[in-house]
C-alpha cells in the first residue's frame, strides 16, 4: 500500500484513522466525511473500481460502540492496490450519502445493503429491495432478527388437489 495515499487521506479527511493489517490498508472515516473520502480516493488517488459495499451489524458485539459498520472495498486498477474504507452509522436513522454518483455500480450494492440491514442511502435513485420479496418488511441480516424469521416463510396460500 503506497504511503502517499494514506497520508493524503489523513491530511484531507478530518477525524479518520488509518491502520494496516497484513498489508491491507484500512481507513475508518466519520460518517459525515464518507462521500468526501470516496471522492478523494476515486478522483485523486486512482481508486477507480468499487469492488464491494457491505455491512456488519455490531449489536451485542464485545467492546462495540456503534451499531452498523459500513465497509467499502476499493481497488486501483492501474497499480492493483486495494483499500478498505469503513464508517459507522447508528439507529434510529442509519443513513449515509449514496455512492452512485461516483460509481454507477454502487446502485445494486447499496440496494442489497438496504435490503439486508435497512441502511438508508440518501440520494440513491432507486432504493428498493433487491433480494427479498417486495412485501417483506424486516431487515433479515440484522442481529435482532430471528434466524427462522417471523413466520414470513409460512405465510402463503395452500393449494390443494382440485384447487388448480
Amino acid at each position: 500500500m503506497s504511503t502517499e495515499t494514506t497520508q493524503q487521506i489523513e491530511q484531507r479527511i478530518a477525524g479518520c484513522t488509518v491502520s494496516e493489517f497484513r498489508g491491507q490498508a484500512r481507513v475508518v472515516v466519520p460518517c459525515e466525511a464518507i462521500h468526501e473520502a470516496l471522492t478523494l480516493l476515486k478522483n485523486e488517488c486512482g481508486f477507480d473500481l468499487l469492488v464491494e459495499i457491505t455491512c456488519v451489524d455490531y449489536l451485542n458485539f464485545r467492546d462495540a460502540t456503534d451499531r452498523f459498520g459500513l465497509v467499502y472495498l476499493l481497488a486501483n486498477s492501474a497499480t492493483n492496490e486495494r483499500i478498505i474504507l469503513r464508517t459507522y452509522v447508528n439507529e434510529p436513522d442509519p443513513s449515509v450519502p449514496t455512492a452512485t454518483d461516483l460509481w454507477r455500480g454502487a446502485n445494486w450494492m447499496e440496494r442489497e445493503v438496504f435490503d439486508m440491514y435497512g441502511i438508508n442511502f440518501a440520494g440513491h435513485p432507486d432504493l428498493r429491495r433487491i433480494l427479498m420479496p417486495e412485501e417483506f418488511t424486516a431487515f433479515p441480516l440484522r442481529k435482532d432478527y430471528p434466524m427462522q424469521g417471523r413466520g414470513e416463510r409460512h405465510n402463503f396460500p395452500v393449494i390443494r388437489r382440485g384447487d388448480a
Partner: protein, 185 residues
C-alpha cells in the same frame, strides 16, 4: 355361465386400467430444479441412468406440456409463489415428486428465507429422502409413482378433482406453523 376361449393376442381389462396404464408410461416431467438436487435430476435424465427406460425422459420447460413436477432443491420464500403458479398451470392429471431433504423439509436450511417443505403449500405424491438422492432413488420414486398411478386412476379422471388425496398429509395437520394460531384443517 359359458366359458369363452380367448385368442392368445387378446387381453381383457377395464378402461380405467387402460387409461392409467397409458398415463403411467408416458410421464412428462417438469424439472423444477432450484438447487444442487437438480444436478442429480439431470444425471437421471442423461444416458448413464437413462430415465427413458421408464417412459419419463421428455423433460419440458413449459408447465402446460407436463404432468409430473419434480421439485429438486430448496424453495426460497420468493420462489414459492412461482412454484405454485407453475403447478397451477399444469393440466390434470398431474403429480408431484418432492426430491431431496430440502424440498421435503427444508433440510439444513432452517432459515427465514427457505420454505420448510413444499407439501405445506402444494400437494405432493412422492417424497425422496437424501441429500442429494442418487439417481436410482429418483428412478425408484418414479416407479413407485407409476404403481400409484396404476392403482388409483379412472378413465375420466374424477379422482383428480378431490382434495381427498391430500387430507392425511401430516405436515398440514400436525406440524406447527409459526405465526398462525390455528392449525390448517
Amino acid at each position: 355361465m359359458s366359458q369363452v376361449d380367448l385368442p392368445d393376442d387378446v387381453v381383457i381389462t377395464k378402461l380405467d386400467e387402460l387409461a392409467s396404464w397409458c398415463r403411467k408410461n408416458s410421464l412428462w416431467p417438469m424439472p423444477f430444479a432450484t438447487a444442487c438436487c437438480g444436478i442429480e435430476l439431470m444425471a437421471t435424465g442423461a444416458s448413464r441412468h437413462d430415465l427413458a427406460r421408464f417412459g419419463a425422459e421428455v423433460f419440458r420447460f413449459s408447465p402446460r406440456q407436463c404432468d409430473l413436477m419434480i421439485v429438486a432443491g430448496r424453495v426460497a420464500m420468493k420462489m414459492l409463489p412461482v412454484m405454485q403458479r407453475i403447478w397451477q398451470q399444469m393440466h390434470e392429471p398431474k403429480w408431484c415428486i418432492s426430491m431431496g431433504a430440502c424440498a421435503s423439509t427444508g433440510g439444513v436450511f432452517d432459515t427465514y428465507a427457505v420454505v420448510q417443505g413444499i407439501d405445506r403449500f402444494i400437494p405432493v405424491d412422492m417424497y425422496i429422502p437424501g441429500c442429494p438422492p442418487r439417481p436410482e432413488q429418483l428412478i425408484q420414486a418414479i416407479m413407485d409413482l407409476q404403481e400409484k398411478i396404476q392403482r388409483e386412476g379412472t378413465l375420466d379422471g374424477k379422482e383428480f378433482n378431490t382434495s381427498q388425496r391430500q387430507q392425511t398429509k401430516r405436515a398440514l395437520t400436525e406440524l406447527p406453523i409459526m405465526g398462525q394460531s390455528t392449525v390448517i384443517r
